[in-house]
Symmetry: C2
DNA sequence: GAGTATGCTACAGAATGTGTAGCGTCAACG
DNA sequence: CGTTGACGCTACACATTCTGTAGCATACTC
């Protein structure tokens, strides 16, 4: 089944958008892909390199989902974020700094 | 190996905190657990219910990781977020509203 | 037409997640 | 004391998902 808000997320009978989002983001590499696209369009193969050579099988699966969800699109420049996707990526950009602080905390 | 900033994340030789965070959050149910703890402490069994009856095996594994990462702790009231964990959860709280808007967009 | 790049698929083996049953501990009840 | 019920948590067989490698079909360059 296509993952989309309105369709039930795994383990949640409601199609509540946040649950669908958490379901999708909670699959390996999804967050990472969004993160690596933050600086503009990249080819499939370049994206693979950025993601430490994920298997193309999986990368393609993720990109398909993200395209269904209107977060990513593909043109002759390669893959890139849609406006909504960029918006989401921006939310995660804040996490980068947060993670640095957090690391200091954890490692003490 | 214990997941911690400083240790390499899966698929990333660097221990860069964000990568570790993405690795951890990109495991099923991790985001959901953080989300369900947003309103205060809950017992293991209650948390399980909130998470649509995830298997206790997995829930326990996730909680262990989140405790290692100082995002969650356990006392006689049950499981709850640490200050850092609450901070992180707050970041994701914004996602709830975002997801609602996004849903309208996707479903058009 | 050989070389190189693209997006993407196939497939076997490994890792991860799921679902159910139940253990050991404790506190309350009668 | 013996039962009942709730707690955190573990065992284990089964299912799904992810990984890694090989390679196809297409297109453009020399």
């Amino acid at each position: 089944m296509v993952k989309k808000p309105g369709n039930p997320a795994r383990g949640s009978s409601t199609g509540r958008p946040l649950m669908v989002l958490l379901d999708v983001l909670g699959q390996r590499w999804t967050l990472r892909v969004l993160w690596e696209l933050r600086n503009g369009r990249v080819t499939f193969r370049a994206l693979r390199s950025l993601c430490d050579e994920v298997s193309p099988t999986l990368l393609n699966a993720r990109l398909k989902t993200l395209r269904d969800l209107a977060l990513v699109d593909l043109d002759d420049e390669g893959y890139g974020l849609t406006p909504k996707g960029a918006d989401l990526a921006r939310q995660f950009a804040k996490l980068d700094r947060w993670a640095e602080d957090w690391a200091k905390d954890v490692l003490r």
